[in-house]
């Protein structure tokens, strides 16, 4: 994979975005296996209903993993210096997640030419599930 050229990038440029398949119960079962997070809130509808909620919902870290893919589809993972998100809403079964990123700053950090990215993982109605940022080194 070749890195994007630092000089050719501008603040405001968008990363190639993508929309996931609808989050299903199978997605959450697979994520439980892959992540090791078997919390019943994500898997066991009986448990969830007994606790007064309508249905299981997605692991927050599933959405962050999708945003991680947004980054690693754009640059080799070794270019990522930092990556963070705030969890702002729960993802329900059936929702597709739209992952977008935008360059908000060009900066030098630790002697490297970097870009700061603003990241969003939202449903198709535009409700943000996760808002994040990342710093990626490009030189």
């Amino acid at each position: 994979m070749t890195k994007p050229n630092f000089d050719a990038l501008n603040v405001g440029d968008m990363l190639p975005s993508f929309t996931t398949e609808p989050v299903s119960r199978l997605t959450l079962a697979l994520y439980a296996t892959g992540s090791g997070d078997h919390h019943p809130l994500h898997l066991d509808q009986d448990f969830v209903r007994a606790n007064g909620m309508p249905d299981v919902f997605a692991h927050g870290m599933l959405g962050m993993a999708y945003l991680g893919r947004l980054l690693t589809q754009w640059v080799p993972q070794s270019a990522i210096r930092s990556f963070g998100v705030r969890f702002t809403a729960i993802t329900q079964i059936g929702e597709r997640l739209v992952c977008t990123g935008r360059i908000v700053e060009k900066l030098e950090q630790g002697g490297e030419q970097c870009v700061r990215l603003e990241l969003t993982c939202a449903n198709e109605q535009g409700e943000a599930k996760h808002k994040g940022d990342a710093v990626v080194a490009l030189a």
Binding site: T33, G34, A65, R69, T72, Q77, I80, R81, F83
Partner: protein
């Protein structure tokens, strides 16, 4: 009940995790990953990597890979059913691969509340090392609802 701020500075019981290609394969499948470096040992080897590459958020999964992942919140008397994940971030130093054994060494670095205690925040910072070398800083904020 407000969490006692005496817990700021508390060390989280350390643990170690051996990263397996098996788990990374399932993680890749769950997250829709199509780059074989993240799930195919042969492809990783041909690319010159020592193992399958752990994706950016996988440090969180490894940090949780213990009998009681929220032991520190239980020590503080928190009700885990009232817990939400507020924030998560990573600072990366070195890539890690299947076959690596990683040591997780965490500490509670802040406890604060908002809305007169309706929301309490517990901040944990974890140093992840491989044979003594720092590979990642993991920063987590868990929210406890009243």
């Amino acid at each position: 009940m407000l969490i006692d701020k005496k817990h700021i500075g508390m060390k989280v019981p350390p643990h170690s995790v051996r990263l397996t290609a098996w788990q990374l394969k399932w993680f890749a499948k769950a997250t829709g990953e199509t780059n074989p470096l993240y799930f195919d040992e042969e492809a990783a080897r041909q690319a010159g990597l020592p193992g399958v590459l752990a994706p950016p958020t996988f440090f969180f999964c490894m940090d949780m890979d213990k009998e009681h992942p929220f032991d520190y919140l239980e020590t503080m008397g928190c009700d885990l059913m009232k817990m939400l994940h507020g924030e998560q971030s990573f600072t990366y130093h070195q890539p890690v691969y299947s076959g690596d054994t990683l040591d997780f060494d965490g500490e509670i670095t802040d406890i604060y509340d908002k809305r007169n205690g309706a929301l309490q925040f517990v901040v944990k910072d974890v140093k992840v090392r491989r044979q003594g070398e720092l590979v990642c800083d993991v920063h987590s904020v868990m929210v406890i609802r009243a």
